[in-house]
């Protein structure tokens, strides 16, 4: 596997884990996951309405974006990526390296 293919493969693995963890957390591990998932999506969509009502009056995003908006967007994406990376490293460490102090 090339390094790009390897990265894609690893990202797919991490995405699958993240998706399953998230789904289990959101549905409380219940069996009727589809119903719970649809309910969650509807709930999230509805939440956008009050969020839009509050935020829209302060934000006036137009393309092309100005530098400060770009910085905020980039920082948000970078922080999300860093969080995902730390989660991935933590889960790999948990799986492959148990505590080193047992004799």
């Amino acid at each position: 596997m090339s390094s790009t293919a390897h990265l894609t493969w690893f990202a797919r693995h991490e995405f699958r884990l993240a998706w399953r963890e998230w789904l289990a957390m959101m549905t409380g591990g219940r069996r009727r996951r589809n119903r719970a998932l649809i309910g969650l999506l509807v709930f999230a969509a509805i939440l956008h309405l009050p969020a839009y009502a509050v935020v829209a009056r302060y934000v006036d995003l137009r393309f092309p974006l100005d530098p400060s908006s770009l910085i905020v967007l980039t920082a948000t994406i970078f922080l999300s990526w860093a969080l995902m990376l730390s989660q991935a490293i933590e889960s790999v460490t948990r799986v492959f390296s148990p505590a080193p102090i047992s004799i």
Binding site: M1, H6, W9, F10, H13, R16, L17, R20, E21, A24, S91, R94, V95, F96, S97, P98, P100, I101, S102, I103
Partner: protein, 250 residues
């Protein structure tokens, strides 16, 4: 099956925590041997195996795995060995097949070839009915078997197991023992720590007893009995006598 090349050679291996955990240990295990490493709690078995597996750096000494200096070239050494901890650490949200495919991917094995060998490994460990169930609902024994299968997926030549049979029911233990014996028949070397002395007595070609980080006895069961002076002694009796003698001398 034996050969001149040793599967594992430890020379002067030393590790200290607040006290010496492994004390200038010399140990040679031949290719194709089933070797049982016994010792009381805190004797240094796990620390020794963790240093061999590259999970702990020794304070002194050398580790040679099939002729490869594991301290100088740990990647090459890890490619030909497997480490199975007593605490099975697997991804709860993956099925056994998915977990093995992931591990095979880490080793860079082609998914087309790894899928079949992963399936065969899991079936040989009695996990066929659970191939597509997530590991989160598995018992400790089932998790231990998945971890073992994951360790074997890259076809290692040296297999190191730390208490692999603890917590397994009779059928699961039989599956694991059968798989290990099959690997030994194909020329692999197995090193196993265990507190179940009957297993060591029945399965091991040679037995090493470690106490206070030092090897205090080693040999086949017959050799250990000969040294003990009685042919009808069980391994348990010999083990307790050895450990008591060592404790009295310390």
């Amino acid at each position: 099956m034996t050969s001149q090349l040793s599967a594992l050679a430890l020379r002067g291996l030393t590790k200290r925590f607040d006290r010496p955990a492994v004390d200038a240990l010399d140990l040679t295990i031949r290719v194709g041997e089933f070797y049982a490493l016994l010792g009381p709690n805190g004797a240094g078995k796990t620390t020794t195996l963790r240093m061999v597996a590259g999970l702990l750096r020794p304070d002194a000494g050398s580790v040679s795995i099939l002729g490869i200096d594991a301290l100088a070239d740990p990647v090459a050494a890890k490619q030909i060995m497997a480490w199975v901890s007593d605490e099975p650490m697997i991804y709860d949200k993956l099925t056994p097949l998915e977990y093995l495919e992931f591990v095979a991917g880490l080793w860079g094995i082609d998914p087309r070839t790894s899928e079949q060998s992963a399936r065969n490994l899991l079936i040989s460990l009695g996990l066929e009915p659970h191939l597509n169930e997530r590991c989160e609902g598995f018992s400790k024994g089932m998790r231990q078997k998945v971890a073992l299968a994951g360790a074997l997926v890259h076809d290692p030549r040296l297999i190191i197991l730390d208490e692999p049979l603890t917590g397994l029911d009779a059928l699961s233990a039989r599956h694991v023992k059968g798989l290990l014996q099959e690997r030994v028949r194909t020329g692999c070397t197995v090193i196993m720590t265990t507190h179940i002395l009957e297993v060591a007595e029945r399965m091991a070609d040679r037995i090493g007893v470690i106490a206070s980080g030092r090897l205090i006895a080693e040999g086949t069961l017959a050799e250990l009995r000969e040294r003990n002076g009685r042919n009808d002694t069980t391994l348990e009796d010999m083990f307790i006598a050895l450990v008591d003698t060592e404790a009295a001398a310390a």
